[in-house]
Symmetry: C2
């Protein structure tokens, strides 16, 4: 192995952007369980899914045999406008921590959506356009996915209808305006534009909404208007497939300098970033070529991996979506207020759930105040103001680096820095003012939603 001076930022050339996505499922001996029709409890067929999702995306959702799926040229062209993203050596953070560990991060925040979400948004918009659709619908909570999708739709000239949880719509007006600037229509949910919205408004006047309700409205809006389909920014197999560009680029960048990570760390909400980052490395592990430690980091307030059950459950609170086998806290689980909006999901990607179940990765929880402490250290030494979601992996990376400081081990750590925190300054303000609290559910708190998961076949 040749010793080259490693730059702060390893940028690949444009021609080194991956031209195929990598599909982990092809290398998994235990495949993730199929989505089930909640009515028949049989695996969802392509025909059943076609009313809701785009045709090509359904093929990708169901494909667990092809390891590489070519990225269409139109998507490659768009990737060139903001990729390759840098793989950064955290020299300044290492120095500040006084650790012998070598820390790298793959930074996905240098685009206007502020996160990795654009990698899948542009793919989903492309397939919708290719199918001749008029537009797509989706829901958004924190707003990064909605922003990414509105950017992608502006590029392909698609209509974009975003249902935004009402409390976020009102508290995050800037995110809303970014989406509007990209031509999206943004509706606070629940709204009177759908039957389900009207029903909820009648039953709960004055409600500030929920992600589950916004999903139900977006699905209804897609299925009731000709030429529309519903798209989703996480959890699904297709999304992890698209996000594999993160890991493929990171691996190529590290390979250039002969760097092999010992530990790979990512935050886990629905799993899109973590699944994308680890993909090619996990492939090597699945094929028995090389071992890595993978660590999923989740908020202590929403601990799907670490305190959930691995069973079939609904993906949405409204119980309109297919059933997925995953680590879940129950679709009725409502996490306590936590600023990492992107990690507040009761379930987890079925692919990652299977890998965790089979012992291919670890998971841990971190508490919010310690996450913001890590975020602030990172900002001051590495310059980038991280998103609260991303800061979960920063926390774990710092903790691993400090362990190395104790033991003297020179481990190489790679973590995913999914995005920037420019629209999360209310949370930073709470932290700066020392008014932020940790809220960890007790076992009693978790019991009701866990116990409410129906006894679907296969659920022990």
């Amino acid at each position: 192995m040749t010793e080259k001076k490693i730059p702060y930022k390893i940028y690949l050339e444009e021609k080194e952007i991956p031209t195929s996505w990598y599909n982990m499922r092809a290398d998994m001996k235990e495949k993730p369980a199929p989505l089930l029709n909640p009515g028949t409890l049989q695996p969802m067929t392509k025909e059943e899914l076609a009313g809701v999702f785009c045709d090509d995306l359904i093929d990708q959702e169901l494909n667990d045999t092809d390891a590489f799926i070519p990225i269409p040229e139109e998507i490659q062209e768009y990737y060139k406008t903001y990729r390759p993203s840098p793989t950064v050596r955290a020299y300044n953070l290492e120095k500040a921590l006084g650790t012998p560990a070598k820390i790298y991060y793959k930074f996905e925040g240098n685009n206007t959506s502020g996160s990795h979400k654009l990698n899948s948004a542009i793919a989903q918009a492309y397939y919708a356009k290719k199918q001749g659709l008029k537009g797509v619908t989706t829901e958004t909570g924190a707003g990064q996915w909605g922003t990414a999708l509105s950017m992608a739709c502006a590029y392909f000239g698609l209509d974009c209808k975003v249902y935004m949880v009402k409390v976020s719509y009102e508290q995050k007006p800037f995110r809303r305006e970014v989406m509007r600037t990209y031509g999206a229509s943004v509706t606070p949910s629940p709204s009177d534009t759908t039957a389900v919205g009207r029903k909820i408004l009648a039953e709960h006047p004055g409600t500030t909404g929920s992600l589950g309700c916004a999903i139900s409205e977006a699905v209804e809006a897609a299925t009731s208007a000709p030429g529309y389909r519903y798209v989703l920014g996480s959890v699904l197999n297709q999304v992890l497939l698209h996000q594999s560009v993160i890991g493929l680029e990171a691996k190529k960048a590290l390979d250039k300098y002969g760097v092999v990570p010992d530990i790979i760390i990512g935050c886990a909400g629905g799993g899109s970033n973590l699944g994308g980052l680890i993909a090619p490395f996990m492939g090597e592990k699945l094929r028995g070529e090389r071992d890595y430690r993978f660590i999923a980091v989740e908020p202590a307030s929403c601990p799907s991996f670490t305190r959930g059950k691995f069973v079939y459950d609904f993906c949405d609170t409204g119980m309109v979506c297919p059933l997925a086998k995953m680590y879940t806290l129950g679709s009725g689980f409502i996490p306590s207020p936590n600023h990492a909006g992107g990690l507040r999901f009761h379930g987890m990607s079925p692919i990652l759930s299977q890998l965790y179940h089979d012992g291919f990765m670890e998971a841990r929880t971190v508490e919010q105040t310690s996450v913001f402490e890590a975020a602030t250290i990172f900002a001051q030494y590495e310059g980038i103001l991280p998103a609260p979601e991303s800061s979960h992996s920063i926390r774990a990376a710092i903790d691993e680096a400090l362990k190395c400081k104790e033991t003297g081990e020179e481990k190489t750590i790679l973590f995913g820095l999914t995005g920037t925190g420019y629209f999360d300054m209310l949370a930073y303000e709470q932290y700066n003012n020392r008014t932020m609290h940790d809220e960890i559910p007790s076992d009693e708190d978790l019991k009701p939603s866990l116990n409410a998961i129906p006894a679907f076949p296969g659920n022990e």
Copy 2:
């Protein structure tokens, strides 16, 4: 000249980051006029400036003979954490406009300060640290400069006191929190922490402050506390010197592909970005080696170049700073509300003023609504959500590209994209809601402040 396929983004390698700044003054036959002591009306000496500014920065301020000034290694190291910045070919914008013009932009917004301001902030913080100072003071309006300085001070372990115009402090709480996250103390101005602040508060209770007042407070805070100096983010010669990294990188990137711009466009507030972008190109023009068209774009609401006088004037409303010979609307000029906070300065860099006076560059004004129209087009096709300031140059670049569409000329246009608009969404909201207005001062509006400029020696 070899024809190479030009990528979307031309990234230089880390080792290609400039190691010297370029000082335009060395190649100017007519040097910019010196700063004058407002009491004696004699050129400010190093000794007189030393109470306010850092020693090495004064040397740079006064140096109009050395063409290249080496960048200290510590600053080069920090530059590596966020530079080189990309030079981008706007393929998608060209296609959308249907123009034969080739459009490039140098993007300086991919760092947490959100703009080019960090290039000078890190340099100024370094020299303060080198001098053994405890900290620095400054004022900020829109907040980009304050953010950049707080990042730089966090890196070098310096105390950072920012006086933020009270109305911005209240209306832009997120910017304030970014600065606090980087450890800066942020004080709304006017405040009771300075004599001048207390005086203004007594005379004008309930005032929401002004940049002029914040400058006066920051200068007082620097000169009254041992171990502090005052630093400034624009206008000064030293700032243009530091910002020359923008142009040096852009030129190196274009040279790689044999691209020579015909027109170079930048927005102009105090002149820091424009002066930095054009520096090496202007050097060639000054030395008679090659001709370029340079266009300064200013808001119609604050037209220093196009409707101001080229005379000695105060740089601040409080009249505590040295006099500078520059295009000015008078230090009493208060621009009508305009969201491009970074362009709301009554004066202009003395270097750029001299170059404009001597016919080396052009200037034009653009109106706010047309600026946001350009910003929205740019966002939708190029993906990046631009800052209102930067969007002034986008407007002019689009206008020039549309002229090429009419004439069929294949001109090459380079413009400066100074930053991102994530903290400017209130302005985008006004534009999206069609409630934004253009407010252009009449000649009668300009007269009072223009006429109030004192008859300093040399002022015609």
